[in-house]
Symmetry: C2
Amino acid sequence: MERYNLVVIGAGSGGLVVAAGGTGLGARVALAEKHPIEYTHEGKPVKAMGGDCLNFGCVPSKALIRAGKAAQHAREASRFAIRGIPDPGPQDIARVMDYVRSAQAHISPHDSIERFSGLGVDVMVGAGRLKSAHEVEIGDKTVWGRNIVIATGSRAMIHPIPGLEEAGYLTNETVFQVKELPASLLIMGGGPIGTEIGQSFSRLGSKVTIVSSTPHICPKEDADIVAVLVKKLRHEGVTVIDEAKATKVEKKDGRKVVTIKGKTGAESTITVDEILVATGRRPNIEGLNLEGVGVKHSAKGIETDAKCRTNIPSIWAIGDVAGSYLFTHWAGYQAGVVLTNTLTPLALASCDYDNIPWITYTEPEIAHVGLSENAAKAKGIEYRKFSADFAHNDRAVCDGDFEDYFAKVLVDRKGLILGATIVHPHAGDVLAELVLAKKWGLPLSKIASTIHAYPSLSEITAALGREYRKTGLTPGRKNLLTKIAGWMR
Amino acid sequence: MERYNLVVIGAGSGGLVVAAGGTGLGARVALAEKHPIEYTHEGKPVKAMGGDCLNFGCVPSKALIRAGKAAQHAREASRFAIRGIPDPGPQDIARVMDYVRSAQAHISPHDSIERFSGLGVDVMVGAGRLKSAHEVEIGDKTVWGRNIVIATGSRAMIHPIPGLEEAGYLTNETVFQVKELPASLLIMGGGPIGTEIGQSFSRLGSKVTIVSSTPHICPKEDADIVAVLVKKLRHEGVTVIDEAKATKVEKKDGRKVVTIKGKTGAESTITVDEILVATGRRPNIEGLNLEGVGVKHSAKGIETDAKCRTNIPSIWAIGDVAGSYLFTHWAGYQAGVVLTNTLTPLALASCDYDNIPWITYTEPEIAHVGLSENAAKAKGIEYRKFSADFAHNDRAVCDGDFEDYFAKVLVDRKGLILGATIVHPHAGDVLAELVLAKKWGLPLSKIASTIHAYPSLSEITAALGREYRKTGLTPGRKNLLTKIAGWMR
């Protein structure tokens, strides 16, 4: 039996980083990927791994979002006094998806079997199945690993709704293959996936309705932040229905009649051409033989400690299948933790759960790190809040991107950042400075005394810092300063 | 005679911050502004100060750039498979300038006489003229200041070119008032002002030629960075002529015939409808009576030390008139230095010249902080360089904004940042994280171990950090790791 330092099951964001990093650090690595996807890049076929991120998630959705922006920005050109640009109208979605595929194809060589084989990884096509604490069966082969890393990701959670299967629906795995733009699209689920794709389809010409079971869409974010996004979505023509659930789907004259039960319990129907189900994710734990080997898990995924270790010391789990944060960058980060813990004699690295940023890629974007106000209140954590509006950020004003947009930050007594959220079309880029400051303990006062280029969106962080500093100028101090100034005059 | 802690001459970016900050800290402040500009905001007239920044510089140029982008992005929508958007063609520049004015008007209340009077500043309309080390004449009034701050800014430098005055030309003070789009526009000067306005007019429908006397436009930036911008400008139809100078202008049939002398000495002519002169800046030192009071100055501006103090201990100078860095944020920063030095008994604050970022607002933007490669070589400073391409940044790929764009960073032996430059449409926002890291001594390795949201442009900084880290994995170390991995297998 071939012996490896690491046997990785699943070649998504987490598994690929473990594999590349492992061989880079001198380890022998086997990597099992169930289902590579073929792209064409520069005329050549590429067998890509990459998991949901490259194939059904981050990458295609961001490219779709970009196309939606191109249509919407043309629609809004008159805001900047540009004439001669008509509303582009409903788009040829098949061509848009060709653009999406071109972005995926551009990235695909980086995640390809060829590249990883070249790095020295033994890539094996097939589903990995645990045989023991150190053995994994891949197809008709069994390999031995000093450590085994499970990184099989997640897939769309489909709740059992009467008639849904019969009527048919899209998920994140099929939506990027649509050939015709649905004139109307109902999205079940108001999380980031549903909201991002919903806004994009709306901008490309679909009549979109988002049905969310939570009090507001993007329920992980604070209500004041989400309100800004919802206002924009509605302004663009997206219908957003909160605290509602689809209870039944019927097919009628080739269309889909969805029964919606609202918060009052009253039912109504919406007839649409297509449905996208984006009501959460479920971990890909089936077929791993977790029970057989005794790996603890629940419906949320495989249970791990902060070192990413399961209850079986030689078996680790990272990314979506481990169920904590479902982000590519979290999976990649956990991959680094596992590399340290498996390739150095002492397993000392632990996940830092406090400094993980995320972005919802709607327009405006919502970018967040650390503690939200909701969470702070729920946990009883003391904080001071400072806000700054983009209406006072001169770059945002010149760019016409200011209305309602703002940033807020929660700090402790010393001005150290506990959490920050920004809602603005470029929130994601602006957040990075705050993440760095939070991670390395730079207080708001140090951000305020760092020169920010004028005019730039990043000045919003300095504005937060100035708000913080103002609190140091108490009436008593101001009084004293006024007296001193009088003496010096 | 009224006695003040601070008498400020000039109400631009520097003067306004001194005035607002001074009153905020309890000081009595007089502020002399020669020429307020009137805007209409929410139906009401606003008498705005703000200097070149609000009236003839940053603000109107960024709004014009935004309008140019709206036209260009519509033109490029087919890159994202969006159909139904024709080339918008030449624009109604008068309407575009209305948009520009609306952005200025939005900001104007913040810089208004009304607001500053409300803050407690004694605003006096008139040119300030030094009478002594503590006295300033403003109109028919003379006021006394414990300290005097000169912040009169700069204006376009007009080199004497035969025929130029007769033919007529635009500067940054008049270009935002044009009523008709010139079919062709020659820009004398390839600095940021000329390049930004040139690209914008080109996008709005003018045939633009930039004539630059330096080896390449934006001469403060490294050649490899500028090459990316020049390629894009040329692709958009802008003619860029380096190492050339206008030597003569003649008027002919209502058009302007400009003679250009190239680097070989050969002369050629270009016939255009309009000329913009953007060949540098000169400090506004006339009329201040610097000679009378004995304030040292040169053609570059008023001489100051790092504390912003002139040779006369009670007189200070900040911003463009002091001639070091001609940026709004530098003026604002120096204002803070002067506030500390004039309102606390010991003048201890000094300017930090090493951590000043700047952005050239073309598309792509060029964003820079600290040492450039050129400067490092010229000064003989040892550095290690790391680069990262946006072609490997998945967000940039999805956004279609990756070709040629890159970031580079220069670090010392410990990985501390000496300088960084980014060329990308959103370079300015991405730079802020590196500025913070440079200012507060966070090495590249700490940036690499900070989680960046995927996919985001800000990941480019982590990519720089990874490049740096790779250098730690020498062949010897890799060998050792491989051996250890073998033992552990």
